[in-house]
Symmetry: D2
Subunit: 347 residues, 4 copies
C-alpha cells in the first residue's frame, strides 16, 4: 500500500483505452492532429472562453515553458517559498526562461499572501535597473501544502500583479483537486480571477503522461508553438498525448477522479487525527495529508508494509500521505486501523 505520491499510480483504464483507440491509421504529426484540436475545443468549453492549448509531456516542462512566455530573462517570478517551480524542478524555469530569477516568498499553508507579495515588490523589486524586473506571479492550485486558494485570494494577488504589469501563472498540477474541493467553475479560479496561463496537469490524476499549457490570453500564446518545439516538448506522435487529455476531460471525468482522491485524503485525515498525538500540519483540502505521528507509530506502519515519505521540512515525525484517483478505500482504512492500534499499543 503505497502513499508516496500520486505519480506511483498507474493510468485510469479509460485514459489508457483512449491511447489504444488512437493507434489506428496515420495522423499528421507534431500536434496537427484532430485529437489535439478537440482538446483545445474541449478546454474552451470547460473554461467558458476560447483558449489556446499546448500539450506537453511533464509538469516541469509545463510550468517552465509557461513561465518562459511570461517573463523576459531579466524578469522575476514571484512564488511561494515551497513552490514546486522553485524547489523541485532543478532550475528548469531558469533554463527555459533564459535565467529569470524565482523570488521565494513565505506564507502559511503553502499560500502566497497579498502582504508578502507587496512587501517584496516595495522593498526589493523596485523597478531599479540594478534589480531584476517583476514579470510574473506564480501560484500553485492546489498548493504544495494540499490547500486551495479561494477565488477572492487569487483575485487579490492578481490585482497586485496587474499594478506592476506582471502576468499571473497557475501551476495546476493538481488543478482538478482544487476545482473538486472548491466546487467552483474552473473559470472562477483562473481567468475570471486574473490568471493568464494555467499549467493544467493530468498525469497525477490518471493520465499516463500528459499536461497542457492553457492560455487565456491568445496574444501570450503567439510564439508558444515555437517555444514548445525549442523546449523539446513537441511530441511527434502527439495523438497519443492528446488522446489521453481528451479522455481525461470528457464530461466530468477529470473531476470525478479528483473527487475520489480528495475523499480518500479526507478519510485518512479523519481517521488519523483522532489519534492522541496526531497533528495535522495543514488543512486537508485536496489529496495530500501532512501529519505528525509518534515515531513508534510510523515505524510500525512501515514494518507493516505501508509506504510513505517523511516530510523533512517540518517537525520530526511529520509525514506526507498522497491519495490517488484510484486509491482503494480499504487501503485507507487498513492504514488508519494499523495506526490506531499502534498508537494504542504505544500509549
Amino acid at each position: 500500500m503505497d502513499f508516496r505520491s500520486d505519480n506511483v499510480a498507474g493510468a485510469a483504464p479509460d485514459i489508457l483505452q483512449a491511447v489504444i483507440d488512437a493507434n489506428s491509421g496515420t495522423a499528421t504529426s507534431y500536434g496537427a492532429d484532430p485529437y489535439s484540436a478537440r482538446v483545445e475545443q474541449r478546454l474552451s468549453e470547460i473554461f467558458e472562453k476560447p483558449v489556446k492549448a499546448f500539450a506537453v509531456m511533464t509538469g516541469t516542462a509545463c510550468n517552465a515553458l509557461a513561465l518562459s512566455a511570461l517573463t523576459p530573462a531579466y524578469g522575476a517570478v514571484l512564488c511561494h517559498e515551497e513552490a514546486h517551480i522553485h524547489l523541485d524542478e532543478c532550475g528548469a524555469p531558469e533554463l527555459f526562461t533564459g535565467g529569470a530569477k524565482l523570488v521565494p516568498i513565505a506564507g502559511a499553508h503553502g499560500k502566497l499572501t497579498s502582504e508578502g507579495v507587496r512587501q517584496v515588490l516595495e522593498q526589493t523589486l523596485t523597478g531599479d535597473p540594478h534589480r531584476v524586473q517583476p514579470a510574473a506571479l506564480s501560484l500553485t492550485q492546489a498548493t504544495e501544502a494540499g490547500t486551495c486558494y479561494r477565488p477572492a485570494e487569487i483575485a487579490a494577488l492578481a490585482e497586485i500583479a496587474r499594478g506592476r504589469q506582471m502576468k499571473m501563472h497557475m501551476d495546476g498540477a493538481r488543478f482538478a483537486n482544487a476545482v473538486a474541493h472548491l466546487g467552483v467553475a474552473p473559470a472562477e479560479i483562473t481567468w475570471k480571477a486574473g490568471v493568464d496561463v494555467l499549467s493544467f496537469g493530468a498525469t497525477k490524476n490518471g493520465a499516463l503522461g500528459a499536461e497542457v499549457v492553457v492560455f487565456f490570453d491568445a496574444a501570450l500564446a503567439e510564439m508558444f508553438a515555437v517555444r514548445r518545439k525549442r523546449g523539446g516538448q513537441l511530441v511527434s506522435k502527439m495523438r497519443f498525448v492528446s488522446a489521453q487529455l481528451e479522455a481525461y476531460l470528457k464530461g466530468e471525468r477529470w473531476l470525478d477522479l479528483a473527487r475520489h482522491a480528495n475523499a480518500m485524503a479526507a478519510r485518512i485525515a479523519d481517521g488519523l487525527q483522532r489519534l492522541p498525538q496526531a497533528a495535522l500540519l495543514h488543512p486537508v483540502e485536496a489529496n495530500e495529508v501532512f501529519i505528525q505521528l509518534p515515531p513508534k507509530v510510523l515505524a510500525g506502519l512501515r514494518a507493516a508494509g505501508f509506504n510513505f515519505y517523511d516530510w523533512t521540512d517540518a517537525a520530526p515525525g511529520t509525514i506526507r500521505l498522497v491519495l490517488a484517483f484510484n486509491t482503494d478505500p480499504a487501503d485507507v482504512d487498513a492504514f488508519v486501523t494499523a495506526a490506531t492500534q499502534l498508537a494504542a499499543a504505544a500509549a
Copy 2:
C-alpha cells in the same frame, strides 16, 4: 496512403501492449522503476558494454540534452549543414547547451567528410579565445539524406575529433535503420568507432513516444540525471516510457521493424527509378527516398490520394518518401503502379 513521415504512423502492437501491461500496481516514479533498469541492462547487452541509459520523450530533447553533456556554453558542435539538430530543432541544442554554436559543414549525401571537418578546425576553430571552442562532433545515423556512415567513416571522423579533445555524438533517430542496412553489430558503429553518446530513437520506428540517451562513457553521464530533470524530460510515470523501450529492444524486434521500413524504401525506389525522368537524389540505404519526378506525375499522384512532401532544398520536382515499420507493401506497389501509369501517359 501516407508517405510524409515515419511520425504519421502509429505504434507497433507489441509496443502498445507493453504499455498496457505496465499499467498494473504502483511503481516508483521518476525512472526508479524496474522497467527503466531493465532497459539499461538490455542496452548494455546490445552494445556489448555497460552503458548508462536515460529515457526521454522526444528526439529533439534526446539530441539537445545529449549535446549539453558534451559541450560547454562556449563550445562549438560541428555537424552536417542538413543536420536535424541544426535545421529542424528550432534552436533546442542552443537552449539546452546554454548557447553553444552549431557549425554547419557541407558534404555529399548528408555525410560529414574528414576533409570538411578538418578545414573548419584548421581555418576557423583554431582554439583562439575570440572563437568558440570545438567541443563536439555530431553525426546522424542514418543521415538526413537516408544514407548510412560506414564504421571506417565514423572512425575517421572520431580520430579528428579526438585530436582536438572533442566528443562524438550520434543522432540515432533512425539508428535501427542504419544497423539494419549495414548489417553490423551496434557496437561497431558506435563506441568501437569512437562515439561517446548516442541518441537512440524508437518513436519513428514503432514506439508511441520514447527515445533514450545512451552513454558509452559513464563519466560523461555523471550529472545527466540532473540535466534530464532540469530539461523537463524526467517523466513521472516513467514506466510507461521504459516499457515501450523494453518491448522495442526485445530480441531483434527493433531491427525487424527497421528491416521492413528499409525494404519498403528499396521497393519503392526500385519501382520509381525505372521511370524515364526519375532521378534519385541520394542512394537509398535506410527508409527514406529522395527522388525527382515529372510535375505531371507528382500532380497525378496527389490527385490519386497519395500523400508526401516536396523537398524544397533540392531541384523542383524532388519529393521525399518515408517508409515506416508498418508500411503495407500493397501501398508501395500502388504508388509505383500509379506513378508508372502517370509517367507513361505524360510521355
Copy 3:
C-alpha cells in the same frame, strides 16, 4: 611599425584629456551623469533624430547587447559569414540573446546581398515552428573586408528584413571610417536606410575604451538599461567612458580621425598594388588592406621589423594591414619602400 590592428594604437590626445578633465568632484554613478546625457544629445544631433544611447565598454558587448534587444532566444540573426559577431566574439551574441542562432550567409567582399538573404529566408527560415524564427539582420559598416555598404544596398536589405518583421542591426565598430569614405550624412546609412540599432564604435578610432549602442527606435530601447546592467556593462564611474565619447563626437573629430586612417590605407594600397605580384583581395574603402604579396617580400618585411597579420582565410601570402587614426605617413611610406625593394630583389 605595427599594422596588426587598430587596437594596438593608443588613445587620441584630446580624448585622453577629456578623461583627465572628467576627474573632478563627484558625479552620480551608473550613467546618470551629465557627460552621458550630453553624449545622447550629441548623437541625436549627428543622426538628425532623437536617439537613445547607452555607452558600453567593448565592441563585443556593444554588438551582443544590441542584438539581445532585437531577437528572442528562438530567433535567427542573419549576418555575413565573415561577420565579427559570428566568427570573432566567441559566442557572445549567443550568450546575451539566450541562444539565438547566427545564420552565416556568403557574399563577395564582406557584404550581404539581397539574393543571399532572400535565399535563406525562402529555403530555410520559412517560419515553420521547427525552425528558428528570423528576427534580425546584422550588417557591418565598414565591413570586415574593409568595404562599405552604399545607402541603397542597406535600404534593399532593410526592405527584405521588414517584409519578415525583422529588425536591422549595424555593427559600426568602424562606422566613422564608412561615413568618412562614403561622404554621406550618418542618417543616410542608418535609420533613413532602415537600420534600427547601431553599435557605434570609438575604441578602434582613438578612444581608450568606449562604444555606444544607438537606438533609432525608442521603443526598442525600453528595457535596455536593464539589459546593460545584467550584461555587466553598466560602468559605475560612467563619466570616464562618456567623457571619451563626448570628445570623440565633438564637431567632426570622429570623422577626421577616420579620414586619416582611411587615407593611410589608400596610401599603402596605392603603393603596394604597383608591385608586380601584388593582388588586392578587396577594394580598399576604409582603413584595412587585404593584399597578397610574394612570400619573400613578406619574410623580408617581417625581418625588417614590420608587424602585421597573415590572413589565413584567403590564399597563402595574403596579409591584413590595418591603419589607424594616428598612423604616421612616414611608416606607411617606409613599408611601401621596403616592399618595393624586396619585390625588386626577388624578381
Copy 4:
C-alpha cells in the same frame, strides 16, 4: 558633500597618471600586453602564491564571470540574502552561469553563518536530481553591511563547502577595506582560508574602472580567457585597464586608499553615535556606515546640501553613508557638526 556611494568619487591622481603614461606607442591588444602580465605577477606577490588574473571592467562582470567558472547551469550558489550578486546585479550571475540559482541565506550584519549554510544544504539542497546542485558559496568581503569576515569565519564556511565539493567565491568589491580593517595578510582571508576565486575590486577604491578576477587554483582558470571574451569583457586596449591596476597595487597604495576611507567611516560613526537618538545598524568595520537618525536631523542635513541614501531595507530613518578613498575629513566633520546641531535643536 556626497556620501551616496564610493562610485561617485573620481579616480586617484596616481592611477589616472598611470593611464596617461600608458598612452605611448603600440601595445598588443586583448590583454597580451606587458601591463597585464605585470598585474598578474604583482598579485602573485600580494597573495604569496602564483595566481591567474583577468582584468575586467565592472564589479558585476567580475562576480558573474567568476561564478560562471565555479558552477554549472544546474548549480546553486549560496550567498547572503543581501549579497550584491543576489540583489543588485539584475540577474547577471544567472546570465553568465546559464541560469544557476542563487540561494539567499539570512545572517546578522551581512554575514553568512555556518549554521545558516548547513541548514540549507541539509534541508533543501540534498543532492536529489529534483533540486539544483550545490556548487559554490559566495561571500562578500567587506560585506554589504560594512562588516568583515575573520579568517576563522571564512575557514569554517569553506570547510562546509568542501564537504559538498563546493567552490568558494569572494566578492571583494571592497576587499582592500577588509584587509585594511583586519590587518591580516591578503592570503589569510583568501586561499589560506579556502577561497578559490576572488573578485578583486579597484573601482570603488580609486580606479577609473578596473576589477580583476583572481584565481588561486589555476585549474579553475583554464578556460577563463574564453569566458571573459564571450562575456564581453575582453577589452581591446587592455593596457589602459591594467595600467590602473598596476598603479593601484603598487606597494601599499591600495591599502592606504582603503585605510583612509575606513578612517573616515570610523570618524563619522564616532561623531554620529554620540547623538541621543542615533542607532548604528551594523558595526562599522569598513567604509560604510548604516545609522538611524531622527527625521528632523535627516531633513536638516539634506537641506544643508548633504547627499546620502535612505536605507529602505531597515527601519525608517536609517541611512547609508559611504566614505571614499578621497573623502575630505573636513566634510566628515561638517556632517557631524551639522547633525549634532540639528539633533540639539530637535531635542
